[in-house]
Amino acid sequence: MTADSPSPTLEERLLEGDRRALARLLTEVEAGSARGLAAMKVLYPHTGRAQTIGVTGSPGAGKSTVTNEMAKAYRARGKTVGIVAIDPSSPFTQGAILGDRVRMQELTADSGIFLRSLASRGSLGGLSEGSMDVILVMDAFGKDVILIETVGAGQDEVEIAGTALTTVLVNTPGMGDDIQAMKAGIMEIADVFAVNKADLPGADIVVAQISALLSLSTADGWDPPIVKVTATEAEGIEELVDACDQHHAYLVESGAIAESEANRARRQIVALARRRLLAQLIDHSGGQDRLDELVTAVAERKLDPHSAVDQWIGG
C-alpha cells in the first residue's frame, strides 16, 4: 500500500464483506457512540435490501429453536442470513446472560450466517434501543435475510412489528387461556403464526383458537397463515419459511412495503428524538440533581407527578 492510499475505513471494509469490521461497527451503533452515528450516515444508503423477519412469542415458546431452523432453511435456499438475538438485561445490575448461541451452535460453522446477541438494556417492548441500527448495519453488509429474535414477549411487546417487515408469532399448546388473554395485544401483530411443539397434545386446539380469532378480523389484504411446527425435529420449517416469503412477496407486490418502511422510519426517528430531548432536558433543567429532587418530593407525597413536570419543564 502506498502512502497516498490510506488504509480503508471500517465502513469500506464492511461494505466489502469484512466480518470483523461488521462486528466492530455493530458494537458502535448499538452503543449509539459518535463513531456509530458516523457509520450510520455512510451505511444507511446501502440498506433497504434485506428481508427482515421478527420472531416473537412467550418465553419458552421455542423462539431460538425456530430461529435456528429458519436460518438453516434460508441457507439451504442459497440466502445469506443475519441473526439478531435479544435477551433481557437485569433491571438491577444491567448485566445480562445472552444464551441464544447455545441453541444455535451448529450455525457457527457456516460463514454465511452472522449472529449477534444483544441485551435489551432496559428497553421494553422486546427489542433494545440500538437494535434498529444493528439490523440496518447487517442489511448494509448485504445479508439477504435478517432474523430478529425478540426477548420473551407477553402481551404488549409489539415493537417488533414496527421494525421487521414480517412478524412471526410463536405459540405453543398448553397455553389455552393465555391465547384468549393475548387477543388484543401481540396476537394482532402476527403476519405468520407458528404453532410450535406441534407434537404435543393440544396443538390442533391452538390452531383452531387462532383461526377463530382471525375469522373475526376485519383487516383486509393479508390473511396470516397458521403453520404447525416441531422445531426440534425441523418439521414444518419449510412451510414456515414459505409463509414468510409469501408475506414478503405480498408486501412488495401490493406496495404495502412502502408503508412498512415509513412506519419503521417514523418509529426510529421519534424514538431517537425522544431520547435526545430527554437528555437535553436533563442537561438544561438543572441536571440529574434537579430531577432527583423532584423524584424525592413526589415519592414523599409533597408534590404530585404532574406538578413536578410543570416545575421541571415549566407549565
Binding site: 445480562a96 446472560i97 447455545v102
Partner: protein, 136 residues
C-alpha cells in the same frame, strides 16, 4: 449516552460436559453488570473464535475440566488470531482443573488470567475490570 458494557464470551472447549463452573462464573459476571454471551458445552476452537468475532467480545473466558487445556487452548488462540482477534486487544482468561505448573505456559500463550480450582469469582471480576481494554 449509556456507558459501553463489557461483553464477555464464556465457552467450554472440548468434550467434557461439566459446565457448572462456567455457569457460576457467567452468573457472577452478569451480577457485576457485564453482558455475558454464554455459548454452551462441547465447543470447537472454531466455534469459540467465531463467537468472539461475531459478538465483538471484549473478553473471552474458557473453562475446561478435562485436562486437555494444553491441547485445546492453543487451538482456540490460533483460531482467534486467524480471524484478526489479537490477545493484546481482547482479554483472554481461563479456568478449571488446571495445575499450577501449567500457568506460565498458558500466560505465555496469551491468557492473562488463569484461575485454577478454588478461585474466587470476586477475583475474576476484579481481574476483568483491571485488564479489559475499554474504548476511548
Amino acid at each position: 449516552m449509556a456507558e459501553r458494557k463489557i461483553r464477555i464470551v464464556i465457552a467450554k472447549p472440548g468434550l467434557d460436559g461439566h459446565d457448572r463452573g462456567a455457569k457460576v462464573v457467567a452468573r457472577s459476571l452478569r451480577d457485576a453488570g457485564m453482558e455475558v454471551i454464554y455459548t454452551g458445552i462441547r465447543q470447537t476452537p472454531e466455534m469459540i473464535a467465531e463467537a468472539a468475532l461475531q459478538e465483538d467480545a471484549d473478553v473471552v473466558g474458557l473453562s475446561i475440566l478435562s485436562g486437555a487445556h494444553l491441547e485445546l487452548f492453543p487451538r482456540v488462540m490460533d483460531a482467534c488470531k486467524e480471524r484478526g482477534i489479537d490477545p493484546n486487544e481482547t482479554l483472554f482468561f481461563c479456568g478449571g482443573i488446571i495445575p499450577d505448573e501449567d500457568f506460565p505456559q498458558l500466560q505465555k500463550m496469551g491468557f492473562k488470567g488463569v484461575f485454577g480450582p478454588g478461585s474466587n469469582t470476586g477475583d475474576i471480576i476484579e481481574f476483568v475490570h483491571e485488564h479489559v481494554r475499554q474504548p476511548a
